[in-house]
Symmetry: C2
């Protein structure tokens, strides 16, 4: 995006000015808003995320609010996950599915009150979907897009920074819990969530106007800890097995083939897509998202599109994301493969723009399968 | 967008390679796809559009298909417009509204068969909306996003180019009608529609694969007529009073305040938003979209955001789009104003990034109010 490409159709985040000031060199469109990226090289931002901490403007995670007397009933229809046991103060990673069991989004759901939920969404318009469903579902709910915009502070020093700014109470925040906080009269919601698989937080500002003040306050608090501005790190998310909606996940994917069985409760009375997913479960999935290693030269840039995977001359799937992991010192990625080829150790070939590479199937995630890193206690 | 900003999350149109070859210098995100722009200066592209013809890649107008035994009933619920009289072979400009009467999109609806409609959409996800509505509406319909991608050929020579490629039959195509055609085995739908308020056509390729072939065939056919690659021309659309979804129209706008009364049939049995729009009609609109002239220096670039309009010190509205019209030799634009200030000739002040300017209210559109230009007979 060049500066003259700015127009009212794609919104700026409340932190836009700060992100320019702190070195964003490029803006990616996401949910109708610009997401700042390119402060440093992806590899430098990667090391910063796993060794220190990064501040990421993810205001693009457009928040959809579902409220009203039947908010829980309605929310429960929107996701295969059992959400009845989620308490106020808790968040959950969920998928939302359509009538065919296709994945529409994979937001973080936050229970803000008994009768109020937030969806912190990936890149597809969940206002339109939920508002559409509500047309004739008969539930007494309101659907809104409140002016709340998250920042992420991610990395092993993130809790020290957040605690220095908002108090030590945040050190007691459990993984996927949220709390209210305030700084200089700026009200925020802090959740222990994020996109890095490291210790991390999201800070949701309530209201658009004071974004730059909050950003500056965090940068000041982070200075002793070498906090650096950055953006959601693709290398770290792929190492962590975190799928990206729109690139790894499309609407024609079902959660079973994506390995998201834990996000489905078939014992729930009903949810949109239940019958379709039961059928897929009973018949067996036909493809599977797996981890892959790819031989050869280090990948120097992101894959612009999906790469075809072959078993000899037969097309058996696609690599959806590929990147070089500096820590594993290997090219890694995700591939959606025909089910006959999903076994660990399977040898295949992938067609990249620089030619064919040998590929071998592995398990996901590449690092920290039990998520011990982000779940760890923050009190020593 | 820089080249390294490309990733699988935002799609390329089927004409992507051709648009690069023919000089697109920038890509705007729209409906999850890149729209190529910046082949020439906006003013050169403007003169080309009104004097000769331009070829625009608008593959971003993502097509949503509604089909099935109850397609007409369902489609009728989705829009305030009466569509029961629309025949196969016809298109209509419609608005789609939510439960509060807010505008969700303003697509061109095409009746492809008795039981099949296409929506050629503006920049918001009408797949998610219609798919959501269908969850519980009880209609027997299928909702899909077929692989069809329009190009626009717009300008006073456009019919000569389209006829030279597809035959003189297109000269009999009435304004807002469509027909099937074929070139070198590439099947297309041609409609007499577009975004220029000039004579113009949209050519929908059926299938993604052969986009570049079609683009090249059109460029060859257009050469004798000085066809030039370009993009939807903002100057011409503002002269023509064509509102842009996402910049001029937001979800909190109702069609009555946008002057779209002709798109509402209150006699219809029901449609989503009917009760809300009846209430707004009965109580009277509180603001109105108007045309405005703005004094002072020629605007050199697009407004990045809306500009506040004042009556003395009181905020009375916003300019949503502003541009310099080389033909009118004035700065023109749209403003959404409090209803007390909507009379033609009203004098107000607008705050621009370069300071305050005097503003006066005028009628819309600025040119050709009866759309005589695009409606004209193409047979001499």
């Amino acid at each position: 995006m060049k500066a003259h490409g700015l127009n009212p159709r794609i919104r700026k985040s409340p932190y836009f000015k700060s992100t320019l000031k702190y070195g964003a060199t490029e803006f990616h469109p996401y949910n109708g808003m610009w997401m700042p990226v390119g402060y440093d090289t992806p590899i430098n931002e990667y090391w910063n995320t796993i060794q220190r901490a990064g501040l990421w403007d993810v205001g693009v995670q457009r928040c959809v609010q579902i409220s009203g007397p039947e908010a829980e009933k309605f929310m429960s229809m929107l996701t295969p996950r059992n959400i009845s046991n989620i308490k106020v103060g808790q968040c959950r990673y969920i998928v939302m599915t359509n009538q065919e069991g296709g994945v529409l989004n994979d937001p973080v759901m936050m229970r803000m009150a008994e009768d109020k939920f937030w969806l912190s969404t990936a890149d597809s318009d969940m206002y339109l979907w939920t508002k559409g469903v509500a047309c004739y579902s008969g539930h007494d709910v309101d659907i809104d897009t409140p002016a709340v915009y998250p920042l992420q502070i991610q990395g092993p020093r993130s809790h020290l920074i957040v605690a220095s700014l908002f108090g030590d109470e945040v050190l007691d925040l459990k993984y996927y819990d949220w709390m209210k906080a305030e700084i200089n009269g700026i009200n925020v919601i802090i959740s222990r969530t994020g996109y890095s698989s490291e210790v991390g937080f999201e800070i949701y500002i309530l209201g658009y106007e004071r974004g730059d003040e909050l950003y500056e306050a965090i940068m000041r608090a982070g200075k002793p800890f070498e906090l650096a501005p950055g953006s959601p790190n693709r290398i770290r998310r792929i190492e962590g097995g975190v799928l990206d909606y729109g690139s790894d996940i499309l609407v024609d994917n079902n959660p079973l083939e994506l390995g998201m069985d834990r996000l489905i409760d078939f014992d729930k009375a009903d949810f949109i897509g239940k019958a379709a997913l039961e059928k897929i479960r009973d018949e067996g999935i036909r493809r599977k998202m797996v981890g892959v290693f790819m031989d050869g030269e280090i990948f120097q840039k992101n894959n612009e599109h999906r790469w075809t995977v072959f078993d000899h001359s037969k097309k058996v799937g696609e690599v959806t994301s590929a990147v070089y992991s500096p820590r594993l010192e290997r090219n890694i990625g995700f591939a959606l493969l025909d089910i006959a080829h999903d076994k660990i150790g399977t040898k295949l070939v992938v067609e990249t723009p620089e030619g064919r590479r040998n590929l071998s199937v592995t398990s996901l995630p590449f690092i920290d399968p039990e998520k011990k890193i982000p779940r760890q206690s923050l009190r020593n």
